[in-house]
């Protein structure tokens, strides 16, 4: 067993970290506060091929996998620039299209994912379905040579900075009449599509939206993978989402620990740096260990996904759980080490509280992960 990352992975980490350092946390906060987007960072990361690391080479991508995409996600976050859209656009949407799209859909979309010029939102959550994707009510029906989509989605990231949304819905099977999952590529400006921002209590350049589909007319080719793609197409995207959210949380955790340690090492009270006191040092050391363990779990999950390992689901869930908990602990420890400064905008630590707290809820809640592990790993009875 070899825990040493390859030369290429280390080089990618260091290159992405250098790019993140050029922009820095202040840039990210400034964009979030002013309501602007992280367009410059996104475009530069796209040109350098960091956003397209996992897109197949034949479409101009890097030919890597979720392992490489997780490195990009973690390093940007560790440099103070966690990009939520990275989880949605390259991790979910590009993966779904690469794995399940028709040859035409791959040809249309993947070159844009490779250089970051395409940005796509992903809509699964519904007000009445919550985490239960089997109870989705957004429904598509045949309409001549196309489709009509009706339904409502909540907590959809970045709709104001993407052109298209990958919408999880249900489709009446032409043979059995039963409803089954299907995904549609929906232009955000299509007639019958509306979206409204949801005011949120956290710092993020990406905003959250409610989307409404009112008999929205879609062309034939908007159905991802054709009529038979179904559930497999959806699940191809959900594990990368969990794994990259884990990487995003680990990156924020590393950023917080390093900020906390730097402050504890330089802030002197009564003649000694406050970090010389165990009450300040131990929470930071504990946070470091927990973030590091979560990062290991994330790498394992990414490896498993890229290797088509059957344990990917459990690994991805474990990584997401561990990373969210570790990141919350890390930001909390860093804020505490800073005292009042931890809650100021200037010190750039409290700014991450919302992002890590959200990672305990999304894309799948801590409780649903525990349900999954209790039922599937431990063989316990399902509670719901």
């Amino acid at each position: 067993m070899d825990f040493q990352e390859s030369d290429e992975h280390r080089a990618l980490r260091s290159a992405v970290a250098a790019l993140a350092a050029k922009y820095g946390h202040e840039y990210w906060v400034e964009k979030a506060r002013s309501g602007e987007k992280t367009t410059e960072l996104w475009a530069e990361a796209g040109r350098l091929g960091y956003l397209g690391v996992a897109v197949p080479e034949e479409y101009g991508g890097g030919g890597g996998g979720i392992t490489e995409l997780s490195i990009v996600c973690e390093e940007l976050a560790a440099g103070g620039c966690p990009l939520l859209l990275l989880v949605v656009s390259p991790a979910i949407a590009a993966t779904v299209i690469a794995r399940s799209g028709t040859p035409e859909q791959r040809g249309t979309w993947l070159p844009g994912f490779a250089d970051g010029s395409v940005r796509m939102s992903f809509a699964i959550t519904e007000p009445d379905a919550g985490s239960n994707s089997h109870r989705i009510t957004t429904t598509a029906r045949r309409d001549g040579d196309g489709w009509r989509l009706t339904g409502r989605k909540v907590f959809i990231s970045g709709v104001d900075e993407t052109d298209t949304t990958l919408v999880v819905s249900r489709l009446a099977d032409s043979r059995t009449g039963k409803l089954r999952p299907a995904m549609f590529l929906v232009p955000n400006d299509a007639p019958g599509v509306e979206y409204q921002p949801i005011p949120m209590e956290f710092t993020s350049p990406e905003r959250q939206f409610t989307m409404f589909f009112d008999d929205a007319r879609l062309p034939e080719e908007s159905l991802v993978g054709g009529e038979d793609a179904g559930l497999a197409a959806l699940f191809a995207g959900l594990n990368p989402e969990r794994i990259t959210v884990a990487a995003y949380a680990c990156g924020i955790g590393r950023y917080a620990v390093s900020k906390g340690a730097a402050y504890a090492g330089s802030r002197s009270v009564w003649g000694r740096p406050i970090g010389a006191h165990q009450a300040v040092a131990h929470p930071l050391a504990k946070a470091h260990i927990e973030v590091d363990l979560a990062s290991l779990a994330t790498r394992r999950a990414a490896w498993a996904y890229d290797a088509d390992d059957p344990a990917t689901g459990e690994y991805a869930n474990s990584a997401k759980y561990a990373a969210a908990e570790a990141a919350i602990g890390a930001v909390d420890a860093a804020v505490q080490a800073h005292g009042g400064n931890g809650m100021t905008s200037e010190y750039g630590v409290g700014t991450l509280w919302g992002a890590v707290r959200a990672a305990r809820i999304a894309p799948v809640s801590r409780e649903m992960i525990l349900n999954f592990v209790a039922q599937h790993t431990l063989g316990l009875d399902r509670s719901y």
């Binding site: 030369d7 290429e8 080089a11 990618l12 290159a15 250098a18 790019l19 040109r47 350098l48 091929g49 960091y50 397209g52 690391v53 890097g62 030919g63 890597g64 490489e68």
Partner: protein, 260 residues
């Protein structure tokens, strides 16, 4: 136009840098080592010249096995191939020995039109090696460049030093060393990182490069570090109490230091 870029792996300037107690040579184990930033700028300039004029970019380094990482970084930025002079006998070589050894290595690369280097490494701070290499090779040395242009067989350089800016030119082949203002180095793209893995790196020992072991190394160096002491901690400095004339007194202080 074929370009050789001289690069060096140095301790990261963000980490604590020290000399070993035993022989006062650089303690490489105690710090993270990176491709020196000024060399990234030299590589960047070589790649820009290559984009305009074609040819091949070869990066050359002298250093221990770990220096391969510095070469890979330059290759991931876009250089075509690398030559690594690595031999235990080189340990502790001084500037003159280093320049002679690098000149031999440059001699193994065919048809070199231009040698690029950073003007000074962040570890040794000698700033002498580029000019010495030019001397050994009999090439014109255009140092401290903030702008480089090649026109046919002529290289034109804006040379910026504390004394001012000079506009100099030389016939190729020549050596140019670049300063901080020359450019902003590119980040390696993911494709560049993956491609670097497949690019050729030639590793040479002393014998391969035609270097006599008696001419290099600490024991044969012309200069010796006799003693080394860490930099003293910063002292308190001078406090200016503002009695209404604070601004004037700060200006006077800065003027006395020739800062304004």
């Amino acid at each position: 136009m074929n370009i050789v870029v001289l690069v060096k792996q140095v301790p990261d300037t963000n980490s604590e840098r020290r000399l070993t107690d035993s022989d006062h040579t650089l303690d490489r184990a105690s710090a993270d080592v990176v491709l020196d930033e000024i060399n990234e700028r030299a590589v960047e300039e070589a790649l820009r010249l290559q984009e305009a004029h074609g040819g091949e970019v070869t990066v050359v380094t002298m250093g221990p096995d770990s220096a391969t990482d510095a070469l890979r970084k330059a290759l991931s930025m876009g250089a075509d191939k690398a030559v690594h002079l690595s031999d235990a006998a080189l340990h502790g070589s001084d500037a003159v020995q280093t320049a002679r050894a690098l000149a031999k290595v440059i001699g193994t690369v065919e048809g070199v039109d231009l040698v690029l280097a950073g003007n000074e490494a962040t570890d040794g701070r000698m700033g002498a090696v580029p000019a010495m290499v030019a001397e050994v090779l009999g090439l014109p040395a255009l140092t401290h460049a903030r702008k480089v242009e090649v026109d046919g067989s002529t290289v034109r350089v804006e040379r910026e030093t504390d004394e001012g800016v000079a506009f100099v030119e030389a016939a190729l082949p020549a050596l140019v060393s670049v300063g901080e203002k020359i450019n902003e180095p590119r980040y390696p793209s993911f494709k560049g990182i993956m491609a670097a893995k497949k690019k050729p790196v030639t590793t040479l020992g002393l014998a391969d490069a035609g270097i006599d072991a008696a001419e290099v190394g600490l024991a044969n160096a012309a200069t010796t570090v006799v003693e080394a002491a860490p930099k003293p901690p910063r002292s308190g400095g001078q406090k200016v109490e503002d009695a209404g004339d604070g601004g004037v007194r700060i200006a006077e202080f800065l003027a006395a230091q020739k800062l304004i």
